[in-house]
């Protein structure tokens, strides 16, 4: 069972690197969607006995992260006529190397942490750190708002992965709360993106520096 | 014959050479050759199994009793000094002859002898003070050799940079030896591993010796000095004198206790030096600067081997450490041989065409077939390709690193990145030397100078041939040279005296022979097959372009464009582009230059700030007596208040 979870975390890490290395927005969004589904599946694998609440949350997560948010993002991209190229300020190869180095560092860091013995062999903690780092690299190194939203989503996935460690002890309401937060956040960004697009004819956040006061 | 008389003869010959060099070139050459042959004999007899030679005299020099000693580590380096020193003196006989340089040729001969003599002194001294004196002498001798052509401004600048950087190193070494003498109570050198309180002194030695070796980022003096010196001087500096920095590090690490971090730092610095050195080399368009940066890279490879060997010692004398040390020591020899060969080749090109700029050369193989063939051999050897000698040493280093990894010791965490970086470095070295060889010798001549080149004479060709033969000898019979290196390893680390030839080196040696034979046979067969068909000659395919010009060939900069671009963050190349304008564009230029980035962007600004601060402070020094008395009073008051306040607390 643990190996299945590890496989999924490995997939999530691979998708992190894909998101860092791909030059087209649709593939970044696709990577985020698949990662959301993979992460949503995990509570089911972690709980040994079937539990209705867990199942519900898992299905909900998969639906929201795997379908709703990507569809919203794609629609925003279409309606706002954004170019499909990502337009990085940190190049693809450097961000890829950063992400890979961060992943390796995350594995080393997780070894040093005083974890519970049942979590020792698990990739959950390194996967979580790696995703958070990837999210930050995307947020820092991409200038298109949509790509930044994707970075934010990956960052949230990392936090969610960490939360899974506590699945036995913490009420799942917390996770649901995070999810809700996020959905609202994406909606808001979606609306803002639309407004910005209408007002300024561009979604390049690096051109939006005049409003800093 | 024991080494003693041979060494005495060599020293006497070289000392006589210092005098004779001023007056007669032939006598000087004979003296130098005999002396270097004697030194080589002494080193060889020791490496082949002779007893350690030692000479102690109560006769004091500079207040210290004279203590000379030749052990296997010294002999290994002495052999290199003797070979390159001898070859260089023959080369200089034509390259820097009395006819061409009536002013500086006698001076050059004199300082050459002095350089060899003082390097021998460094290798034999067993007393810290005498070591420092010899070290300083050889630094000064090298300075005068670099600045033989002192009417040229850039030569003078390179010389001053070299001298000031060297003195920074000497300062660290002086502090190192003085602190050592203060703590041990004697200037005598030798193993003192049990005195753990001496460990921090290693950092001083690392800076001092690392600066001489050209370790990144202390290599700043090296490219301009090696590029602007006469080529035979560049050869001995790149091939031998920077190795004395390695010699110093070997001695320090062999004798003194080390800080725990030292091996890790050394291997890390080695990896950085190798990678950054070759990245800079690849981007150069000046042939001799390229070779100089490539020396930085090779020092990195040697440091990786040395650092790894120290890790093995810390790890309980693991077997892979011996492979790494043997690889490093072999590389000291190999690099000394092929780098001198390449600098001699560069000198021949410079002699024939008057330029070091690769984009002004091209097609020289026709005029200079010997130089071209020997340079190609050296280029393949320095790229670490089988079946040549560079591969032997790199293979040993790789093998040690891989064994450290498969042994799963903590050292693996250094060995894995080092092996990967070594791989990248090797591939970049290959690219660098394809570029260098091709730009100079292949294709069509790009300028008139290249069109009217001529082959060098026998005095210049001979030394190159000897070095090439030595390269091939080490390549094809590594097992013959292994015992010599093994003896040096034993002298460095007494636990490692028993180093039988690895069985795989036997196999590799025979495979190298087979490969060389097969490659030769295949080349000849295909050439014969091509000639057999008559081989009509036609123009190179030019895509039906009407008026091709030799300047349309791929240039040095365009060749380095792709991989050089990946290192732009490090190299900081400066570009000037003037696009063609209008319907009938007249002039369009593009100039690209890779600066001495570390020097110009880091050291110079820092030095400027220091200079400004010191200029400001200098205003205190104005010569008015009254103020000086005031300083004394202020200082006394200050001291007094410290004493009073300190006493109260």
């Amino acid at each position: 069972m643990n190996s299945n979870v590890n496989l999924l975390v490995g997939l999530a890490i691979g998708l992190n690197l894909l998101a860092l290395g791909s030059s087209r927005l649709p593939s970044v969004i696709g990577a985020v969607a698949v990662q959301g589904m993979a992460i949503g599946l995990m509570p089911l694998l972690l709980e040994s006995d079937f539990n209705w609440i867990v199942a519900l949350v898992a299905v909900g997560t998969m639906a929201v992260k795997g379908f709703v948010i990507p569809v919203l993002l794609r629609r925003a991209m279409r309606t706002a006529n954004i170019e499909r190229e990502v337009d990085p300020s940190i190049g693809f190869v450097p961000s890829l190397l950063l992400g890979a180095g961060g992943t390796i560092a995350a594995v080393a860091l997780a070894r040093a942490l005083p974890l519970l013995p049942e979590h020792a062999g698990s990739l959950l903690v390194p996967g979580s750190f790696a995703s958070v780092l990837t999210g930050f690299v995307l947020l820092i190194g991409r200038s298109k708002a949509i790509a930044q939203v994707c970075g934010y989503l990956i960052l949230e996935n990392g936090i969610y992965l960490f939360g899974l460690l506590l699945i036995r002890t913490t009420p799942l309401l917390v996770e649901a709360g995070i999810l809700l937060d996020l959905t609202v956040g994406v909606f808001v960004i979606g609306i803002i993106v639309d407004r910005i697009q209408r007002a300024f004819d561009s979604l390049d956040t690096s051109k939006l520096t005049v409003l800093r006061e | 014959m024991t080494p003693g008389p041979l060494l005495l003869g060599a020293a006497a010959g070289l000392a006589a050479g210092v005098v004779a060099g001023r007056w007669n070139a032939r006598v000087w050459l004979a003296l130098t050759l005999v002396s270097t042959a004697a030194a080589l004999g002494a080193a060889g007899s020791l490496l082949l199994g002779g007893a350690i030679w030692e000479f102690v005299s109560t006769f004091p020099i500079a207040g210290q009793p004279l203590h000379l000693r030749l052990d296997a580590v010294s002999a290994l380096f002495l052999a290199l000094v003797a070979i390159v020193g001898g070859a260089g003196s023959v080369y200089a006989h034509e390259y820097w002859s009395n006819q061409d340089y009536p002013q500086s040729a006698p001076r050059g001969r004199m300082w050459w002898s002095a350089l060899l003599l003082s390097m021998g002194g460094v290798l034999l001294s067993w007393n810290g003070l005498h070591f420092l004196i010899a070290w300083e002498l050889f630094t000064v001798a090298a300075f005068f050799l670099i600045t033989l052509e002192r009417q040229r401004r850039d030569v003078r600048a390179a010389g001053w940079l070299y001298l000031s950087a060297s003195h920074l190193g000497t300062m660290c070494l002086f502090a190192f030896f003085a602190a050592l003498a203060a703590r041990t109570g004697s200037w005598e050198l030798g193993p003192m591993r049990e005195r753990t309180e001496l460990a921090p002194l290693f950092w001083l030695a690392l800076v001092g010796f690392g600066l001489k070796a050209g370790m990144f980022p202390l290599h700043i003096w090296l490219p301009s000095a090696h590029a602007n010196a006469p080529s035979h001087v560049s050869a001995i500096m790149s091939g031998v004198t920077i190795k004395l920095g390695i010699y110093g590090l070997l001695r320090t690490t062999g004798w003194l206790p080390l800080p725990v971090a030292a091996p890790w730092i050394l291997i890390g610095l080695g990896a950085i030096t190798a990678l950054f050195g070759i990245a800079f080399a690849f981007a150069q368009s000046d042939l001799k600067r390229l070779l100089a940066y490539c020396s930085v890279e090779n020092i990195g490879i040697i440091l990786i081997g040395l650092g790894g060997a120290l890790l093995a010692v810390a790890d309980g004398h693991a077997v892979w450490g011996r492979l790494l040390l043997a690889g490093a020591l072999f590389h000291v020899w190999n690099h000394g041989l092929f780098k001198s060969l390449l600098f001699f080749g560069a000198g021949s090109v410079l002699h024939a065409t008057g330029t070091r700029e690769m984009s002004r050369l091209g097609g020289l193989w026709r005029a200079m077939p010997w130089t071209a063939a020997l340079f190609a051999l050296g280029a393949a050897a320095i790229s670490g390709l089988p079946p040549l000698n560079g591969f032997i040493s790199e293979w040993l280093v790789y093998l040690g690193l891989f064994d450290a990894v498969t042994g799963r010791s903590p050292a693996a965490w250094a060995a894995m990145p080092a092996a990967i970086i070594l791989g990248i470095t090797g591939a970049l070295a290959l690219a660098t030397f394809v570029k260098a060889g091709a730009m100079i010798f292949l294709g069509a001549p790009r300028t008139a100078a290249a069109r009217h080149a001529h082959e060098c004479g026998p005095w210049m060709r001979g030394p190159m041939l000897v070095l090439a033969i030595l390269c091939v000898a080490i390549a094809l019979a590594p097992v013959v040279f292994w015992p010599l290196v093994a003896r040096a390893s034993g002298a460095w680390q007494p636990m490692w005296t028993e180093m039988p030839v690895p069985a795989s080196l036997f196999t590799l040696g025979s495979l190298q022979i087979a490969l060389a034979g097969l490659a030769l046979a295949a080349g000849l067969t295909l050439w014969w097959r091509a000639r057999g068909a008559g081989a009509p000659r036609h123009l190179t395919w030019d895509c039906a372009y009407a008026a091709p010009s030799a300047r349309m060939q791929y240039s040095s900069g365009s060749f380095a464009g792709i991989a050089g671009g990946w290192f732009a963050w490090l190299l900081q190349p400066q570009r000037q582009l003037r696009r063609p304008r209008g319907l009938f564009p007249a002039i369009a230029t593009r100039v690209e230059r890779v600066p001495e980035t570390v020097l110009e962007l880091i050291f110079t600004p820092v030095a400027t700030v220091i200079l400004q601060v010191s200029t400001a402070v200098r205003r205190l020094q104005h010569g008015r007596l009254q103020y000086y008395i005031a300083y004394v009073v202020v200082a006394l008051a200050g001291l007094g208040s410290i004493v009073v306040l300190g006493g109260r607390s």
């Binding site: - | 891989f402 591939a427 295949a522 295909l526 008559g534 395919w541 791929y554």
Partner: protein, 306 residues
């Protein structure tokens, strides 16, 4: 004496196998491409005909070239053949095996690259300079990936000898390693998406543009050497992933042949379904290959700890 004779016969058979079977691979790739494109395509044995024809032909040399122009392809061919002979073939082992032979293999491939680039630069043509510059530059990244892959195999098997490195069952990182090595295979053999072997525009080529001026027997040596290199990488990839050591001789031979066929068809499919990458994207893909191998290395390290 008898043992020596057997060893000799085995060596000759192995040599003949490499020499004779290698030109099949480009034929199969072309057949797959034609099949996907709905054409009939050239016969699978086309390269054999080409080689025979080229060997008969005369040579035209450029006015600028030195003997190195002809010697380069010859030495490169010898180097690739030597590297191929070092490679063990499943349970049959290698004809010659020693501690550290894998490093010789990598450096023999580097020797081939040096010779090919040198020969290309002989002509003084800007096209060939372009090709040589690309070849040696991209090889830097490919070499990093290859060394890392070899490190992963070494860590997994605890050995630096090819025979023992390639025998044990592939560990958990096999998928990563396979993907990384397959990308290196494509790059080192100048296949799509790094290079398009069937293009006819000099500006967009790597390998083909380096050999523009070669003709006759030297060209035959180059083409044959290229096909041997492709076979070498395919065999290396299959043996790194499939545990051939545990099988019987016949089964191993079958598995090896099937694996090589799968890889070859895979190359053909990639070539049919993908377009060549823009050159500025090539480093990204090669970095990805390096990272795949790096993660395979870490997985192998972790696997040995547990």
């Amino acid at each position: 004496m008898n043992a020596f004779a057997i060893a000799f016969v085995e060596f000759v058979v192995r040599l003949a196998g490499w020499l004779v079977l290698a030109p099949l691979l480009p034929g199969i790739i072309n057949k797959v491409k034609a099949w996907v494109g709905g054409r009939r395509g050239p016969p699978v044995l086309q390269l054999y005909y080409d080689l025979a024809r080229l060997w008969q032909k005369g040579v035209v040399l450029s006015t600028l070239v030195s003997p190195g122009f002809v010697a380069g392809p010859a030495v490169a061919w010898v180097a690739v053949l030597g590297a191929a002979l070092l490679l063990p073939l499943g349970p049959i082992g290698a004809s010659l095996s020693f501690h550290g032979d894998v490093l010789l293999l990598i450096y023999l491939l580097a020797l081939a690259r040096f010779c090919m680039a040198w020969a290309a630069m002989e002509t003084g043509s800007a096209f060939e300079g372009m090709g040589a510059a690309r070849e040696v530059s991209y090889a830097v990244l490919a070499e990093a990936a290859l060394i890392t892959a070899v490190l992963a195999l070494s860590v997994h098997s605890g050995s630096v000898t090819l025979v023992t490195m390639l025998t044990p069952a592939a560990g958990a990182g096999a998928v990563l390693l396979a993907a990384g090595l397959f990308t290196v295979l494509l790059a080192e053999n100048c296949r799509v998406p790094f290079d398009d072997p069937s293009t006819h525009l000099e500006l967009t080529m790597i390998h083909e543009v380096m050999i523009l001026d070669h003709s006759g027997p030297p060209l035959a040596a180059i083409l044959h050497g290229a096909s041997m290199k492709l076979l070498l990488f395919a065999v290396l990839l299959v043996e790194a992933v499939l545990p051939l050591g545990g099988l019987s001789r016949l089964a191993a031979a079958g598995a090896l042949a099937a694996g090589v066929l799968v890889v070859t068809v895979g190359v053909g499919l990639v070539e049919s379904l993908m377009a060549r990458l823009a050159f500025r994207r090539v480093p990204l893909l090669l970095t990805t290959a390096f990272l795949l191998c790096l993660f395979a290395l870490l997985v192998a390290w972790k696997g040995g700890d547990a």
